[in-house]
């Protein structure tokens, strides 16, 4: 069953605030659901499938289906961290193509800045916890281990990684909602304080609250709506782990999910006009770009340098909303925001300063969970119709 053309993204909504106070998580789910349905031109009564992550209150999707007053015939709570929402889109397309539903609502919300975010693992909560947690493997350390190994094998430099932040900051200056709107230089990044050698503070994404919703619909329904069309053309998924100790940190699961998505879409990296690339850290972007085939393995440093990711300047405009590195990273999970900006680009609704001309084919790439130990990857190829 190919997903090519199986479904359209017909509505999106990104909650504008980066610190949210005085609201409950459930309320945020409802507010973004309502706004995304309005964006699509649909109503709650049209929704017959619901997707959310494990951060939503309650067991799986159950409490939110109740709270939102939904009447669904398909429900799912796949959680692979930040890549979850890309998987929700492709799983919704699978269900639509299989005839199991017509209109899927995907919602998420998290407020880590007020302690309402993803629960942390405890020493006994997973089989691996006692072999990792005592060593104080911080989140930045998970990514620093990969960065260090990449530098060792391929000669990648901190300055090359810094260019990824520089590009994101060039885009964020045009986003009034972005947390970091100041344009930074390579020197600013490499001179910021070290958080996990060789990653500096400015190699890291922001921590933000956030919420959002996506509406995925059957093509026949999508064609009856007024908004510019965004069609799913290909999707891929993969998970990579420590593999019983056969560790290789220079390649991510995108090396598997990417080719699956490109093959299904019948396109190559050279055809992509805009790319949303998950950017928990600068190294995350570099590894995924290599694994997706935008450049050869080990050549990511040279590829991202000198503004190659800046819209209007470089060959591959990326994260034109400022990305997780500068704009937002709702609930430490940046996948959905990658979908939002790709949809804006394909609709021609990105900020004029960063809108890619004739943007008819976009890539959305996310990794989820922790890069070194266990991570997921999801790739979507989307096209304007």
């Amino acid at each position: 069953m190919s997903l090519r053309g199986a479904a359209h993204i017909v509505g999106i909504h990104e909650y504008p605030d980066r610190k949210i106070e005085g609201k409950t998580l459930a309320q945020l789910h409802a507010e973004v659901a309502r706004a995304a349905l309005d964006d699509a031109g649909l109503t709650k009564a049209d929704v017959d499938a619901y997707f959310t992550d494990s951060v939503a209150p309650g067991l799986g999707p159950m409490s939110m289906i109740d709270y939102l007053g939904l009447d669904v015939r398909h429900a799912e709570s796949t959680d692979t961290g930040g890549a979850s929402y890309l998987m929700h889109v492709s799983h919704a397309a699978q269900a639509i193509r299989a005839g199991k539903c017509d209109v899927a609502l995907i919602t998420f919300a998290g407020m880590p800045r007020s302690g309402q975010g993803t629960p942390l693992p405890t020493m006994s909560s997973t089989p691996e916890s006692s072999f990792e947690l005592p060593y104080r493997v911080t989140v930045p350390a998970q990514y620093a281990l990969a960065a260090r190994r990449h530098m060792h094998e391929f000669g990648t430099t901190p300055e090359q990684l810094a260019w990824i932040k520089v590009a994101a900051s060039h885009h964020a200056q045009h986003n009034p909602h972005a947390m970091l709107r100041e344009v930074v230089t390579v020197a600013d990044v490499v001179n910021s304080r070290m958080v996990a050698d060789p990653l500096h503070l400015l190699d890291c994404c922001v921590v933000s609250d956030g919420a959002g919703a996506i509406i995925v619909a059957r093509p026949e329904i999508a064609r009856s709506l007024k908004r510019p069309g965004v069609r799913l053309r290909g999707a891929g998924e993969a998970v990579k782990t420590l593999k019983g100790g056969r560790v290789d940190l220079t390649t991510t699961a995108a090396a598997r999910s990417g080719p699956i998505a490109f093959a299904e879409a019948g396109v190559t990296p050279a055809d992509i006009k805009y790319a949303s690339i998950y950017d928990s850290f600068t190294i995350t972007v570099l590894l995924q770009l290599e694994d997706l085939g935008f450049c050869a393995k080990g050549r990511g440093g040279a590829f991202v340098a000198d503004g190659n990711l800046i819209s209007g300047i470089g060959k591959l405009p990326f994260n034109t909303d400022g990305g997780g590195l500068c704009n937002n990273h709702p609930n430490n999970r940046g996948g959905a925001t990658k979908i939002f900006e790709a949809v804006r680009q394909l609709r021609g609704e990105a900020h004029p300063a960063v809108q890619v001309a004739n943007c008819d084919l976009a890539l959305v790439q996310a990794t989820g969970a922790m890069l070194t130990t266990r991570h997921s990857s999801a790739t979507l190829v989307l096209e304007a119709v």
Partner: protein, 128 residues
């Protein structure tokens, strides 16, 4: 390691109790598959390569650094590393090094056991 830090005690369970018992005696145990013969880490009852039964194997305690990062703290820094054991598998650990700047990928290291906040000891590595 940063001054006076004691790592959190691991949680024991039936699958891993022999690992922690041996750690108290200063021995590093890993698992090896009875069927495919592959050694692996972290220890679990069935082989992650073929889901066959497994046995404990005492590792030499020698290895090399695959990758590492120095994480700054208020009173210094600690080093998180992945160490590839002489027996093959790579494991997460800390490196205790008098000079964090002297730590390098490929460096030979040797296991050492340090106290945790509980009764159990934790395997870490020092330059060989």
């Amino acid at each position: 390691m940063d001054v006076d830090f004691k790592p959190a005690a691991p949680a024991r369970n039936p699958e891993t109790a022999p690992f922690w018992d041996a750690a108290r005696d200063g021995r590093l145990l890993i698992k090896r598959c009875n069927a495919c013969g592959e050694a692996f880490f972290y220890p679990r009852a069935l082989c992650p390569f073929c889901l066959s039964a497994t046995s404990w194997l005492e590792a030499s305690g020698e290895g090399t650094i695959y990758s590492y990062t120095a994480v700054p703290t208020r009173d210094g820094a600690y080093i998180v590393a992945l160490v590839t054991l002489a027996e093959g598998p790579t494991m997460m650990t800390n490196i205790l090094a008098p000079d964090p700047q002297a730590v390098a990928i490929g460096q030979a290291v040797r296991v050492r056991f340090i106290p945790t906040t509980g009764d159990d000891a934790l395997p870490v590595f020092v330059p060989a």
